[in-house]
């Protein structure tokens, strides 16, 4: 029987999230003679997601249930378990995201299938499959031999290219039912977060703020620079500890992983825990007054100087040259 790979899809504002498109690329890299299905769960998926037929997979599996209108670990875990039991796939692939992180271990335990988490590279060598992951606060890489034919895997965001749409394609769209008992936990409130960190993961330009930005004034400078470049602000743990912003903006091992076209690290020393979140950036520019700061070793361009001198002058220069 043909193997089945299921990708646990995530979507936002009518489109699959970039991580889901990255999962499609990763699934193909496994080079199994497998049927690749993209699973989307929700309340009204068919209404919410456009171009369902055009993703580069063999089929779409749509699961609609009122209990799935919003992610909840309880509901999504149970729904995924029901789908696994019905389809008996060979491999389940999902992002190492809030959703993937919460429900893949649950499924792994319930179905007794091994789970490889936060994988950032697949490799085949002499007919053996190896996964690479970042461990020990990003200080080492771990290469694991995968012995099992059936497994679950979560992939680190931004490590694979997003699979493009295939215009004109006609995917099979299969609708599946799941029976979910009334949840034990119930959602009773929603409030908007103060700082919008939603766009951070997909931003093309990110200006990073670290301990060196020191205060509100420094943070305002970084924000202004980001606005001017059409980008957004991400921070290191140092900036969070200074109380300048919410931890949702944090990049690095304990925060988000990004892969912008451009990352400008301002007043960031370059601790490995931060670097692991940003090393996928195409170009890295570092501004720091300490010439010995480790950030310079991982930067394409380095500017040694005080952020309080460089950034205001740069803002002025950019303003002048645009006009």
């Amino acid at each position: 029987m043909k193997e089945k790979i299921i990708i646990l899809g995530e979507y936002q504002q009518g489109n699959p999230s970039s991580i889901t498109l990255e999962c499609i690329t990763a699934a193909k890299q496994l080079q199994r003679e497998a049927e690749i299905s993209l699973l989307l769960m929700g309340d009204e998926v068919k209404k919410d997601v456009s171009d369902l037929e055009q993703y580069d997979v063999d089929q779409m599996i749509i699961v609609e249930n009122p209990f799935l209108s919003r992610f909840s670990s309880e509901m999504y875990s149970k729904a995924l378990l029901s789908i696994w039991n019905q389809l008996q796939p060979t491999i389940l692939l999902c992002g190492h995201t809030d959703i993937g992180k919460a429900i893949s271990p649950y499924l792994s335990e319930k179905v007794d299938i091994p789970l490889y988490s936060n994988v950032e590279d697949f490799e085949s060598y002499e007919r053996k499959l190896y996964f690479t992951r970042s461990v020990y606060s990003g200080k080492l890489m771990e290469r694991v031999e995968v012995n099992e034919p059936t497994f679950l895997v979560t992939i680190k965001p931004k490590k694979w290219e997003a699979a493009p749409k295939k215009v004109g394609r006609k995917n099979i769209i299969r609708t599946m039912e799941v029976t979910i008992e009334k949840p034990i936990s119930s959602l009773i409130g929603l409030e908007q977060k103060k700082l919008d960190s939603v766009g951070l993961v997909d931003a093309k330009i990110i200006v990073g703020a670290g301990r060196g930005i020191q205060n509100e004034e420094g943070f305002a400078l970084v924000t202004k620079l980001a606005e001017l470049l059409g980008g957004t602000v991400g921070v290191s743990r140092g900036a969070v500890e200074l109380g300048l912003c919410d931890a949702t903006l944090q990049l690095g091992q304990t925060g988000k992983t990004v892969a912008p076209d451009l990352y400008i690290a301002c007043g960031i020393s370059g601790a490995i825990q931060h670097l692991v979140g940003v090393t996928s950036a195409k170009t890295i520019i570092a501004i720091n007054k300490d010439p010995k700061a480790p950030i310079f070793e991982v930067a394409d361009y380095g500017v040694i100087g005080d952020v309080f001198d460089i950034i205001p002058a740069l803002i002025k220069e950019l303003d002048n040259t645009t006009i």
Binding site: P105, Y106, S108, L115, I184, A247, T321
Partner: protein, 250 residues
């Protein structure tokens, strides 16, 4: 109805301090015992438990699956304010999240609890698996990225950090939460805490060995180096070069 005193289990693991340097020989990692600390994300969940105890009263049991050496980190947790500690002994081979979760489950079968708190992930393995696995084994609800726990009519009112919004759930006890990074700065053990910790109960529990097909693992250093072009000159010269560079990149 009043609030209930909370019987809490805090899951701890021991990890290598982020400041420690690691030695790799023939693909294997060597760490000196003195470099082990309480896994920092777990210390944050212990801090949450300590604050809940201050608010609602109750008891905190810290639970760790490790070799006997884990006693040191458990004593630190007791000195921070946990009431008792349990060390489930395991062999160095039994380091997979699925095995650790099963051992924790074995212990939890025989005790009562209202709430289990776990860190978001371990800084060593970074797989984020143990918390949700235990919820699956115990068949209790779990909420990840929990940022606030209150009580209302003997249910918990739990806020979590969703990707777009702050979500509030009503959930009956018992349940499991994982606590995200940056929620608290864990307290340091006080001198009197260290003295008291010496008299607090610390149980060593044996557990049956769980056989494990160990997947071969090799370790290496990541390559992060880039071209490192230094933009030189006076401030204004640097800024002009930088501005040109930014234009060319856009």
């Amino acid at each position: 109805m009043g609030n209930k005193a909370l019987n809490m289990i805090v899951l701890l693991s021991r990890t290598v301090s982020p400041e420690a340097s690691l030695v790799v020989e023939s693909g294997q990692v060597f760490v000196e015992e003195s470099n082990f600390i309480i896994n920092p994300p777990d210390a944050i969940s212990l801090e949450e438990a300590l604050q809940l105890k201050e608010k609602y009263d109750g008891k905190i049991t810290v639970l760790m699956v490790s070799g006997k050496e884990g006693e040191k980190q458990l004593r630190t947790a007791l000195a921070m304010g946990a009431d008792e500690a349990v060390l489930m002994e395991c062999s160095p081979k039994e380091d997979e999240p699925s095995i650790i979760a099963k051992k924790i489950n074995d212990y939890l079968q025989s005790v009562n609890f209202d709430l289990i708190l776990a860190g978001d992930f371990s800084t060593d393995g970074a797989s984020s698996q143990v918390g949700p696995r235990i919820a699956a084994l115990l068949d209790i609800p779990f909420i990840t990225k929990t940022i606030c726990i209150n009580q209302e009519e003997r249910n918990a009112i739990v806020k979590r950090n969703g990707d777009g919004d702050i979500e509030t759930f009503r959930v009956p006890f018992p349940f499991l939460v994982t606590i995200p990074q940056g929620l608290h700065v864990p307290r340091l053990p006080s001198l009197s805490g260290i003295m008291k910790a010496k008299k607090k109960p610390l149980l060593f529990k044996q557990s049956k060995e769980i056989s494990n097909i160990n997947n071969l693992k090799q370790y290496s250093y990541p390559n992060l180096k880039r071209k490192q072009t230094n933009i030189q000159g006076e401030t204004q010269e640097k800024v002009v070069t930088l501005a040109k560079l930014l234009k060319s990149l856009q």
